[in-house]
Every structure is written in structure tokens, then in C-alpha cells.
Symmetry: C2
Subunit: 230 residues, 2 copies
């Protein structure tokens, strides 16, 4: 990507910020909704805290390890596709050249206008393969070292997020814990949504409203279902 000044303006947050947002988004929402839901059926804060901590363990491992393995298999998928493109550029250059021309025909360029580019790529098989990976398949080389850092960030953010709604159940009695947890978590969701909006370039206030609505709806649904069973 060219390092021109205006590229900076398209910046929408680093990969680490994105991972933290992914983890915290679910970490704030699901343990919160589970704890609030169980409060509709059970008066015992020990059970609610146990369920909440079990959920945090399960959710952070599922998201973190799942993300790690997904990143690893993305990297393998990329290398498998790259080998395939290398073979095609080597063995069927005519067909690949037609595909390059085809890509540019999609942007209104005639075969004649695309010819110099096709010829230039033909002279550079490596660059040609890179070009096909990005422009035909839409794949970018993943960074293999990111997988572990990404998994740790997602899981860590999930755990941090999950302890916010559980805190009141650990510190307060059954009657006070639910309203305290709802209040604290809705505020946390609003702040998180606002900051997330700032990073992703969305309107912060609308983003805050959306995270509050998702968390609130999830908690209300869980509460309703638990209440209906008990």
C-alpha cells in the first residue's frame, strides 16, 4: 500500500485494537446476559458467579484458541493457493495472462490497454503471482506471528470484559447484585461502544447505543427464558 499522506486518513485501528474489540465485545455481553438471566431463576449468587466464571473460561478459550487456529489455517490456505498460482503462472502463462486482461476488463479497459501491464507482469513471475493473489483471489499474506498475539489479546479482553458484570455478584448480596451489575455493565457497554466507534470510524454515539442495545437485549432474553423455566 502506498505511503502517501491520505492513506493515513483511511486508518481504522491496528490489528491489536481490533482483536481487543472482538474479545471485549463478547466478554462484556455474554457473561453479563448469563448472570442477569440466572438472576431471574436463582437467588444464589455463588451459583451465578460459578456459572459466570465457567462461561468466561469457556468463552475466552473458544474465542482465543478458535481465533488462533483460524489464523493458522488462513496462513496455510494462503500458501496452498500461492503454490497453485505459481504452478499456473509457470505452466499455463497464456491462460493466466488472459485472466489478468479479464480483471482489467472489469474496470472498462480494453485488451489493448491492458496489454502493456500483462507483458510487464510476464517478465516478473514472482510479482505476477503476488498480483494474482491480491487481485484475482483477494488474499493477502497473513503474518504467522500474529496468530498467537491475536489469540492472547482476544482471550484477555474477553476475561477483562467478563469480570465487569460479575464483580457485583462477587461483592454484593443477591438482591443488590442484579441492579448493580446491570447499571455498571450498561455504562461499560456505552463507553466501550463509544471508544469502538472512534476507532472504527463509525459515529461514536450511535456505536455506543448499538452495543448497549445488543447487551440489553441479550440480557433481557436470557432473563426471560430463565424466568420462564423456573
Amino acid at each position: 500500500m502506498p505511503q502517501t499522506p491520505h492513506v493515513e486518513r483511511h486508518f481504522t485501528g491496528s490489528a491489536t485494537v481490533r482483536d481487543a474489540v472482538i474479545g471485549m465485545s463478547d466478554g462484556l455481553t455474554v457473561p453479563f446476559a448469563l448472570a442477569a438471566g440466572l438472576s431471574g431463576a436463582i437467588d444464589n449468587t455463588t451459583v451465578i458467579v460459578t456459572a459466570g466464571l465457567a462461561e468466561i473460561a469457556a468463552g475466552s478459550i473458544a474465542m482465543g484458541l478458535g481465533g488462533y487456529l483460524a489464523a493458522r489455517s488462513d496462513a496455510e490456505h494462503f500458501h496452498a493457493e500461492r503454490s497453485r498460482e505459481e504452478a499456473e503462472v509457470r505452466e499455463k502463462p497464456e491462460m493466466e495472462a488472459l485472466e489478468v486482461a479479464e480483471i482489467f476488463r472489469g474496470y472498462g479497459l480494453s485488451a489493448e490497454e491492458a496489454t502493456p501491464l500483462v507483458e510487464a507482469l510476464r517478465k516478473r513471475p514472482d510479482a505476477w503471482v503476488d498480483f494474482m493473489m491480491r487481485f484475482e483471489l483477494g488474499l493477502e499474506a497473513p503474518d504467522p506471528r500474529r496468530a498467537l498475539a491475536s489469540a492472547a489479546t482476544i482471550a484477555g479482553a474477553y476475561i477483562v470484559g467478563g469480570f465487569i458484570p460479575l464483580g457485583p455478584y462477587m461483592a454484593l448480596g443477591a438482591r443488590m447484585a442484579l441492579p448493580a451489575s446491570v447499571g455498571i455493565t450498561l455504562v461499560a457497554l456505552a463507553i466501550f461502544g463509544y471508544v469502538k466507534g472512534k476507532f472504527t470510524g463509525a459515529q461514536p454515539v450511535r456505536s455506543a447505543l448499538q452495543t448497549v442495545v445488543i447487551g440489553g437485549l441479550a440480557a433481557a432474553a436470557a432473563f426471560g427464558i430463565a424466568k420462564a423455566i423456573s
Copy 2:
């Protein structure tokens, strides 16, 4: 993308399949781990089923609604960036032309070799904007109608996946439910991982092993934590 025969070989499953995989992956894992975890602390299957159903409600809403809003804000982000590129192509064509040349310099093309392409794009401002969106920013036009279908598929798959580990707790007594749930769910995770591997082009057996390990680790961690508290 060109409709040549070999594109077919790069196919890795439709968007609906991907959404179903996302939802079922977490739906099988988290309610399973939560129920198994609570079994380490509580003998009462009613409490476990209540917690499991509350988790399914919370998780499916958080994932489905979260996915819906993320798709919507992706679409808004795309349109905002497209307006910006349109303005740049209109107001600073010289700078944008330099950026196109810069993109191709990344593939080893000289400024002279890139010139015909730059000139061809200059004549077609709309195609030029499309080109910058895809090749400079790596953004593809999202389908706004996908958002709702995607949310419903993710949430539905989460619910279907979540009922598999909960089934034994609903049908059996406390002593039989845990081993039955573990057995059924590990088999379901293996089948799911195998099918997922087929769709994503990974080795099916390895994919099956991975989903079983994630689910098993999440359940073991949740069980250990719940046991330690009780």
C-alpha cells in the same frame, strides 16, 4: 472475478455456509463447556439447563445481532470511503494517478509500464474509483441484504449447536447427563470439524481434531474453575 474454469477450484464455500460454521462453532462449544463446568459444582440439572438456555439466548443474540450491526457498519464504512475516493479522483486526479503508479511499482512495474493503465483509468472515473477501492484499500462492495440473512443464519446455527450438549441434561438424571453430554458433543464436534474442513479446504481429519480439542479444553477449564469454587 473472471469466470474461468480454474476459479471454481478456489471456491471455499458460500457465505451462508461460512455463517453457519461461525454460529455452530461457538454454539457447540460454549454451552457445552458451561454445562460441563457447572456439573463440576452443582448436582441440579434444572439449574444447569436454565444456565445453558440462558447462555444460548445470550450467545445467539450477541453473535447474530452483533454480526448484523457489524455488516451494516461495514456497508456504511464502504460507502463513506467510496465517497472520499470519488472526491479525490475528481479533485486531485494527479495525486490519485501517482497512487495507481505506486501500486504497480509494488509489483515491479516501472512508471512507464504503468502509464497506459493510469491513462485508461483516467478516462473512466467510475471504474477508477472501483479500482482504488479494491486495489488501494482492499475493500469490496458489501451486499446490504446479506446482513439480515447472515445474522439469522449465525443465530440459528448457534441455537441448533447449543441444544446438542444440553439435550442429555434435559432428558437424563444428573449422574448420567454429564458423560452423555460429553460423549455426544465430542462426536458432534468431530463431525462438525470434519465437514468444516471439507468446506474450507483444510485437511478434514485435522480440522475435526482441532474442534474436538478446543471444545474439550474449554469444557475442562470451565469444569476445573467451577470445581475449585464449589
